[in-house]
């Protein structure tokens, strides 16, 4: 069985799974877990988009 994902979708899935674990393990209350998970997810995706633009500017 093989799994076809684009690079961005692979980054999205990675960010989602890692953020769930970080949110649950690094905070104590349900509300804080949700907020921290969302914060980590946005940093992951933001980092991907910034890195992509940096690479685009290096190339051009």
């Amino acid at each position: 069985m093989t799994f076809e994902l684009s690079h961005f979708n692979a980054a999205l899935l990675f960010a989602l799974c890692a953020s769930i674990v970080f949110g649950i393990t690094q905070r104590s209350t349900a509300r804080d877990m949700l907020r921290y998970g969302a914060y980590c997810f946005s940093l992951f995706i933001g980092g991907v988009i910034v890195a992509a633009w940096v690479m685009w500017f290096i190339k051009h």
């Binding site: 069985m1 093989t2 799994f3 076809e4 994902l5 690079h7 692979a10 899935l13 990675f14 989602l16 799974c17 890692a18 769930i20 674990v21 970080f22 649950i24 393990t25 104590s28 209350t29």
Partner: protein, 137 residues
Amino acid sequence: MANPQSTAVARNDSAAGSMTYVAPIVGWLVPGLGHLVQRRYIRGVLLMLAIFTMFFAGLGMQGKIYAPNTGDLLDILGFIGDVGVGALYFIARMMNWGIGNIHRAVADYGTKYIVVAGLLNVIAAVDAYHIAIGKKP
């Protein structure tokens, strides 16, 4: 004659004491189980879903599973990361999954997915330990 209340407290202490060993070990063996045995059902199921998804997505992307080795430092670290996922690692090795495919760029992502699934599972097992010792609700 023993006081029934103190006997019950001692029994609870002994159960909590054994949980400090059981929770991180079962949490390492099966992702999320360390939380499930302590009745943190939602957290346990979410951790299980996240780690299983990462591991099997990594395998699906034809990622590589590292065998025990004494070669390159990155290969050794890859093995340590992979072992973090517990029983899934041993099952994958027995079933000969995770051969890897150097011809696909996404296969390298898959390798990283599998390593990170192991590392996240270690964090989850440590969290289960913190719950067992009462450091976390």
